[in-house]
């Protein structure tokens, strides 16, 4: 069965420290992986997707098919990065998402 696992419910780091939010997935086909973010009092919104291999707000994520992981990384955390982060898997061609349980990132001053 398809599954997305985010092992950490809460991750606290100090400003300027590196951040890594973990995401592991289980999927037999060829997945599309995404990171969505929800800032306080805002809507859930797309942060980045693996296909584009881009850096958004300093965040990057690499799809590792061998380890079935899609960890989100940022070398230097900022206070404005504090938010709820969700990893999501889309089954190619279905436009259907499976979300992880989310990780709350708190960046401390």
């Amino acid at each position: 069965a398809q599954r997305v696992t985010q092992p950490e419910k809460l991750l606290s780091v100090f400003k300027g420290a590196p951040v890594e939010l973990k995401c592991n997935y289980s999927y037999s086909g060829s997945p599309e992986l995404f990171w969505y973010v929800q800032y306080s009092r805002q809507r859930l919104q797309l942060l980045l997707r693996h296909i584009s291999r881009e850096s958004i707000k300093g965040f990057t994520a690499d799809l590792n098919k061998g380890e079935t992981s899609f960890h989100l990384k940022k070398p230097f955390a900022q206070e404005e990065d504090s938010a709820m982060y969700y990893c999501a898997l889309s089954q190619a061609g279905t436009y259907k998402y499976i979300f992880g349980t989310g990780t709350r990132l708190k960046v401390l001053a």
Partner: protein
């Protein structure tokens, strides 16, 4: 472009009552989703529409939940009768299937409390 609109934003009802939520997707988006997000969990897909047809409703509790998308635009999600465990945020999202990737755009959600 205007975002996905949802109403009401908050609703408090007693168990066994009925409730309805409304969603207006981004103009031109053919795909519409309803998600249930229980506190501490990620969004769980309830139903997916493509225009006015249902693509996936495998996780919709059909004995109490129903949804429709008349004319392929607005959608309503209904719960009748509500149970305590239905307390959650109900999210609507839409997507353009013409895009090169399937980014979903989310509404603000409706927070339902069942007493």
């Amino acid at each position: 472009e205007a975002g996905v609109a949802q109403s009401p934003r908050y609703k408090i009802i007693e168990k066994r009552q009925s409730v309805a939520f409304w969603c207006n997707p981004i103009s031109g988006h053919a795909t519409l989703y309803w998600y249930q997000q229980i506190l501490g969990q990620g969004p769980k897909l309830l139903i997916q529409f493509q225009n006015n047809g249902v693509v996936d409703d495998s996780q919709l509790p059909k004995d109490r939940f129903s949804a429709e998308r008349l004319k392929g635009v607005d959608s309503t999600l209904k719960i009748q009768p509500a149970k305590l465990e239905d307390s959650a945020v109900y999210l609507c999202a839409s997507a353009s299937t013409g895009a090169s990737y399937n980014e979903q755009f989310f509404g603000p959600g409706t927070r339902l409390t069942v007493l």
